[in-house]
């Protein structure tokens, strides 16, 4: 799913999907559903809601496939953007989000996502990503985990970590650049 070869295959599949080819869409689903469901589940932490949201993600992918433009990014990036945004929308609109915030702000529960072993499943295929995450300074990793894997705005991240907004922005920005460097090195 991440090699340029399979990305090319996905582009081709999406072109068929754009013409209403539901069999191609089934293949596209099979190639991507673990990642889509995984990130949605990670953000929502609720299997029933995640299934609903993942379904919305794929329906949106189907509906907007004719507008997918490979020049603007890879199919996985496109799909992941839809998935992450929908999961984040859901978590931000749900009551659970409020409760979750309270929990953090009251400080009565230890923040539970600092350990990357929690988010990174032990699979060889993910070793590269795990390594890259582990290479980040802990402060950056925490910022990325809160922002990306928990779907928080940088304001929320700042409040949870009790840091100035500017510091959080810088950490997220630096973390992403560092991840890019690591992942590109690992890929080459």
């Amino acid at each position: 799913m991440r090699s340029s070869n399979s990305s090319g295959e996905l582009v081709e599949l999406l072109q068929h999907v754009a013409n209403g080819d539901s069999a191609a869409f089934a293949q596209f689903y099979d190639a991507t559903s673990r990642t889509v469901y995984g990130i949605v589940l990670r953000v929502l932490r609720d299997a029933a809601q995640s299934e609903e949201v993942a379904q919305e993600v794929y329906v949106e992918a189907w509906v907007s496939a004719p507008r997918f433009d490979p020049q603007l990014g890879s199919p996985t990036a496109w799909l992941n953007t839809i998935a992450h945004r929908k999961a984040v929308d859901r978590v931000r609109s749900s009551e659970r989000s409020l409760q979750r915030d309270q929990r953090h702000f009251e400080g009565d529960v230890q923040y539970d996502a600092l350990d990357t072993s929690d988010i990174v499943v032990a699979r060889d295929e993910n070793q590269r990503v795990r390594d890259a995450l582990n290479c980040l300074p802990e402060a950056q990793r925490t910022a990325v985990q809160l922002a990306y894997f928990e779907g928080r705005t940088h304001r929320e991240v700042a409040e949870v970590l009790q840091l100035p907004l500017g510091t959080v922005k810088t950490r997220i920005r630096d973390a992403m650049k560092r991840l890019r460097t690591h992942l590109e090195e690992a890929a080459s």
């Binding site: 754009a18 990642t35 889509v36 469901y37 329906v59 004719p66 990014g73 779907g151 705005t153």
Partner: protein, 272 residues
Amino acid sequence: MTDMHSLAGEYAVGSLTPEEIEQYEAHLATCPSCREEVADMRDIAAQLSEAVATDPPATLRESVLAQIAQTPQHPAATAETPRYGTATAGGAALGSATAPSVTPSQGSTSSNVIPMQRRGMAGRATGLMAAAALVAAVAMGGWALSNRNEARDATARAEQLTALLAAGDVRTVSSEFATGGEGTVVLSASRGEALLVTAELPELSGDEVYQAWTGKESMEPAGVVADDPATNVVELPDQALDADQIAVTVEPTEGLRAPTTDPVFLVDLPSA
């Protein structure tokens, strides 16, 4: 004010506020290097998601495929289409988008004109809505079953129905049963398949059965709706593909050659 050129990472991880996103997307429209940066950062984010990859429930696949079978796609991007945004233009255009497959032909042959049926509505668009809901019901029937083989059968039937609904020449007709419950006939000549999907039929007493029939010059037996679960799929014989009508009667026993009671379900098939 934040430097617009530095926001790609935050944009890709989704931590910007809606206002910031709006400003940044306006900036992206005019800044090719930032667009490249965003594409890169979105790739990185997608790779992060791989770290949490998890097998989805098997039911997700069926329900996704069932739903897309009845969901029209956006037309391809035009010069006016906002292509940036957060990957999509949102749901607003969904209702107005029309797929060619559901647009009735205005031509002289009128073969695509969707006629009103004596009972219920027929045609690809309305029938598909009902049928897709039935696919979900068939799959649900599977989940409710404790018997593993039966559950697998239900899943297989849902897949079969999904594939059939995706056929280019699929025809569907839905109607209610006079007894309560409903039925949808789904046919595709190209696939050589015809199914009657029923839902929520009341239980019958004793040996009574729901007997399906195909109607052309005469009524021919076309299978029996099995007992339980509440949603059933009957594979209709090939003669259904060129029949004029599909009917169901309540009969005292299986194996009759002709109906002995008035139909409790009767639909005219739209012409192929």
